[in-house]
């Protein structure tokens, strides 16, 4: 069975100008393509979350450039790109009392569907509940190909 969980990279960001641009430069120089991206920030620091086409190389390149990096498993759920698409997923998530640490979304190239990235406490349980509810879970490979 294909790996249902998607690998995400998180990078620590101090709130100072130019750091995001430096990360983008490092990835560009290593020919790594960004599939999805979200920044979470507080008054003092930020965390950049990234899904890329080659996680291992991206981690290596960012570490070499001096960044603090960690990996986490997230779940990518495909939803229809129309009003109400997100609401349907969230109804299932909250109905099953799944604890969401954070989430973000991106739209697929075709424009037909959107993908919601969830960071769950219990990703395996979340995957089976969402699949039972009829949602398509995108594999790591599928996300990288998008």
């Amino acid at each position: 069975m294909a790996e249902m969980k998607v690998e995400q990279i998180a990078v620590f960001l101090e709130n100072k100008s130019g750091r995001l641009a430096e990360i983008a430069d490092v990835l560009a120089a290593n020919n790594i393509n960004i599939r999805a991206l979200a920044v979470a920030d507080t008054a003092d620091f930020g965390i950049l979350r990234l899904i890329v086409n080659d996680t291992a190389r991206a981690v290596q390149a960012l570490r070499t450039a001096g960044f603090t990096v960690t990996k986490a498993s997230v779940v990518a759920v495909e939803v229809a790109d129309r009003p109400g698409g997100l609401a349907e997923v969230l109804k299932v998530v909250s109905g099953a009392w799944l604890n969401v640490e954070y989430m973000y979304a991106f739209v697929e190239k075709s424009g037909q569907n959107a993908a919601i990235i969830f960071r769950f406490d219990e990703p395996n349980k979340a995957i089976s509940i969402l699949q039972q509810a009829g949602f398509k879970i995108l594999t790591n490979e599928e996300v990288c190909r998008l």
Partner: protein, 433 residues
Amino acid sequence: MIWNEQYETMPREDLEKVQLRRLQDLVARVYARVAPYRAKMDAAGVRPGDIKTLADIKKLPFTTKEDLRANYPFGMFTVPLEQVVRVHASSGTTGKPTVVGYTRRDIDTWAELMARALACGGVQRDDMVHNAYGYGLFTGGLGAHYGAEKLGATVIPISGGNSRRQILIMQDFGSTVLLATPSYALNLADTMADMGVDVASLKLRVGIFGAEPWSENMREEVEKKLGLKAIDIYGLSEVMGPGVSMECIEAQHGMHIFEDHFYPEIIDPESGEPLPMGEAGELVFTTLTKEAFPVLRYRTKDITRLWAEPCVCGRNFVRMEKVTGRTDDMLIIRGVNVFPSQIEHVLMGIKGVEPHYQIVVNREGALDTMEVQVEVSEQVFSDEIKTLEALSRRIQAEIKDLIGSTCKIKLVEPKSIQRSEGKAKRVIDNRKI
């Protein structure tokens, strides 16, 4: 007013006789009763009988904060604990505080010296003394309290914090004298402005400010904002607490050391050699009369100079200049002593936290703030904000537990704190003092 005419105006030659007699008695006492002093004196080859003149004091070994730490908590006490009626403590360079003890007579002596100090600063019996020094293990609150009572003034033991309530009490009780750290005094002035309280409606006339370094500029500012005369007081718990030396309201220039109880020396901090009168160096104190916790040649690590010139106030005691620096890396933040090694101790105790840190001290408005910057290693980094915030809060809480003061924690990227050759630069002090 001079509280104790007999001693405070005693001719120098008589004072020196009193000092010598007290010094000889002290040296005999600590040699007989305190093993660490005996061991150090034996190692230096000096016996109590060798102290024949005041100049012989330089034969005695120095006492340092490290000696006090090595004998934590009560190992340097000269009397059995049943004769100790109170202890105080100040922060040590690592986890353990420095503990000091007082007999009944020490408490009386301290009250006498603090009464002298307050009188020297212009406080009188009919004053309403608003004591905003912290009450507790810190010597400031209780030390000043007993002195003000001894003087016969009315004491409001309000302690620190809750500035708005402090101002209401000043208005309602008619406080005339404010005892506080100078930064807290400025904070009270700002709070008054916020509350729309006109300082002219208050009865404040004298402020006695100490426990942290402050400048002549700050004196002008606090005098203007609070409409009072600002007087400088000096003390440290290892020597007694507040009331070791005090500026007079007449000159407001240099602090008179109560030399019948404390023998001051200025030494070269490198060589340990005594320096001539007037030269700047490290201040060293020998307590001539303390019973429970006397110190022999205690190195304060404060840099200052002494003046022997006569003073308009009539006191014959030498004066010390405002402390201009430290020989170590101790910081004083809102009256609390902070050593970078304490911060390091906390960080080293948290798994995965790198011992790379920097302390940034700022003065925001009237208050000193301390920010500790900590590098985030991959061991503690997480993709979740809450994990990093919990780490920040934990570091903050552990520092507060150790030093009693709240600081801001800033997580920074690895290698972003400047690595210097040799000794790391741990402290950036942006205060203009």
